[in-house]
């Protein structure tokens, strides 16, 4: 609208004349153009945001020693898909992935069992000190991992678990977060469902298995995915507890790459790309549930 002002007081009528007819449909036009511009700008921001990931993939495909060039090039002198195969073989990266799948998978399973049972007790049972105990559970959430890492290491040492999968899995499978998330979900299930099952003669275990778990599957799925992703990305604890290459997880493998592969950035980027694939697929496949889960709980793997 502001650009129309000069046309009214304009010195040259010949210029103002053609702008006048366009002045009237303008509100309609701007309400159509505005959103498009907004959408384009947002897409540009999203693209800029993705530059690091795009650059990673592009760098992973470049020939050796072309990661740093001035001026930068999108593609190197050749596009080498075999960098991925080479990265896979240079360090036992396949082994790292298998290790991580095993650790994250078993860890997720244990977390689910412990959280489902404890969540059921807090949400559907009545017992003394229920409220106080729940608050104690919650209070463990504010203790950062760094505080317990060193005493935990000493415990593992006493148990002789250093350099073992047990040590990678068990210490983080009993977090209060899972119990909290599932308790919040279980508590919303109508009592009538449970009572009907009780009249049919179901015990607690069967109520849990046949009523609660089927109804709360989305929440349990969210917990499973977050737990898996947290295990997959975990760095500090594996760094401390594992120093045997054969037991390493993917982030440790990447760190090893970073240390050893000073000259082979294309391999490091290929390895980084591989390490991102599983979690990105999980997020893309389950985005609807995940977004709902984060909106409910406000936290996931952080």
């Amino acid at each position: 609208m502001t650009s129309d002002a000069p046309s009214v007081t304009g010195v040259t009528p010949s210029v103002s004349a053609p702008t006048l007819p366009s002045a009237r449909p303008r509100p309609v036009l701007s309400s159509r153009v505005g959103p498009v511009i907004s959408q384009i700008l947002l897409s540009l921001v999203a693209l800029l945001f993705l530059v690091p990931i795009i650059w990673m993939v592009l760098s992973a495909l470049k020939p050796s020693a072309e990661a740093f060039t001035v001026p930068p090039t999108l593609f190197g002198s050749a596009i080498l898909f075999r960098n991925f195969a080479e990265a896979w073989n240079y360090l036992p990266f396949g082994r790292f992935i298998l290790n991580t799948i095993w650790v994250a998978g078993v860890g997720t399973l244990i977390t689910l069992v412990a959280s489902v049972t404890a969540g059921y007790a807090f949400a559907r049972l009545n017992f003394k000190f229920q409220g106080g105990l729940f608050i104690l559970y919650l209070s463990t959430l504010i203790v950062p991992q760094e505080v317990i890492v060193i005493p935990m290491f000493l415990v593992m040492q006493q148990l002789g678990w250093v350099n073992s999968y047990k040590a990678l899995i068990l210490p983080w499978a009993f977090t209060a977060f899972g119990t909290f998330l599932l308790r919040q979900s279980f508590i919303t299930i109508p009592k009538e469902l449970e009572e009907a099952a009780k009249i049919d003669g179901c015990g607690h275990l069967r109520i849990l298995r046949n009523v609660i778990i089927p109804v709360a599957t989305p929440a349990i799925a969210v917990l499973a995915v977050f737990t898996f992703i947290t295990y997959w990305n975990s760095f500090l604890w594996p760094l401390i507890i594992v120093n045997d290459t054969i037991k390493m997880t993917v982030p440790l493998g990447l760190q090893l790459f970073l240390g050893q592969q000073a000259q082979r950035w294309e391999l490091l980027m290929a390895a980084a790309t591989i390490s991102m694939v599983p979690t990105v697929i999980l997020v893309l496949a389950l985005q609807k549930y995940l977004i709902k889960g984060i909106a409910l709980s406000g936290l996931g793997g952080r």
Binding site: S38, A118, K128, P151, N243, L268, L282, L299
Partner: protein
């Protein structure tokens, strides 16, 4: 400290009292046992142990001796610990407001009526939150290194060399903050998106009819309504930002070109290489666990 005894009594008494009063006590004990045992062994016990170990000279091999508050004294007078505390505070002061502003801004933008396919944008901005931090940091080392993407672009476009981001004490902190925000704001953006979706459209429409502009509607109507979510996000982000470790460690300490700077934090990279630990208190952030 308080966690341990209370937990134990709670477990012990639920069975007896529950039986007398409200039938579920026995079942509750059963259902809580796996989780409770795990939490006691792997959370409560280490927390108590960290407090106790802090009063000892506790070598990995050899005899331990009670030293009282000496570890605290050593720590509090240690220059490196001061630097670590200061760096953590600077990090939090930079990271927290930027994270909240960016995530709220993008949530509002994506949530506005004119944007089509908001789910797509939300997913895009959330992706780095689930990719391994080490991988994210590796990408940023490639981009920020000398002759990396930024330096190379600056040389091409402006003929100027970019500073050595990761090797200088001036630029390492902004680099770590940038990486942390890039990978970290996705969670808060989703929290804010959910809160914005819950704001009734009738309220903003009524305000619009009364002549409130976009800015007034945001600050007078929307912002007060989503204050609980903002508070929630601030608290969680504050807690997690005091715990920053991996980004700083990989970006400035683990890279091939940069020597590990001692100034960031005094953390044991390999516990096995240290001879003893003393943990002052369950505080947050990067603090010393190095040997003395």
């Amino acid at each position: 400290m308080a966690v341990l005894p209370v937990d134990v009594t709670a477990v012990a008494t639920t069975g007896q009292v529950g039986r007398k009063k409200r039938g579920d006590g026995k079942a509750a004990t059963g259902f809580l046992t796996p989780s409770m045992l795990g939490l006691l062994a792997f959370t409560a016990f280490p927390i108590a142990a960290s407090l106790i170990i802090g009063f000892y000279n506790w070598p990995v091999i050899g005899s331990r001796t009670f030293t009282g508050l000496k570890n605290y004294e050593t720590l509090l007078t240690s220059k490196e610990f001061h630097t670590a505390i200061l760096n953590t505070l600077v990090f939090v002061l930079l990271y927290l407001p930027l994270n909240i502003v960016i995530s709220l801004g993008l949530a509002v933008w994506i949530g506005s009526k004119s944007i089509k396919a908001p789910g797509l944008y939300r997913t895009i901005f959330f992706i780095p939150a689930v990719t391994p931090v080490v991988a994210n940091a590796a990408i940023f080392s490639l981009i920020l290194a000398p002759n990396g993407l930024i330096d190379s672009l600056m040389q091409t476009w402006f003929g100027v060399q970019a500073p050595n981001f990761l090797g200088s004490t001036t630029w390492a902190m902004p680099s770590v903050v940038m990486l942390s925000i890039w990978q970290g704001f996705g969670y808060n953006m989703l929290v804010f998106s959910a809160a914005l979706d819950a704001v009734p459209a009738s309220l903003t429409e009524a305000a619009a009819i009364d002549g409130a502009g976009t800015v007034a509607r945001f600050f007078r109507i929307i912002l007060p309504l989503i204050t609980p979510s903002i508070f929630f996000a601030v608290v969680l982000t504050l807690i997690s930002s005091f715990q920053v470790f991996t980004q700083a460690y990989v970006l400035t300490g683990g890279g091939p070109e940069t020597p590990p700077p001692r100034w960031w934090c005094i953390c044991t990279s390999r516990a096995s290489s240290s001879t003893s630990w003393a943990w002052p208190r369950p505080s947050r952030g990067c603090y010393s666990s190095s040997s003395w």
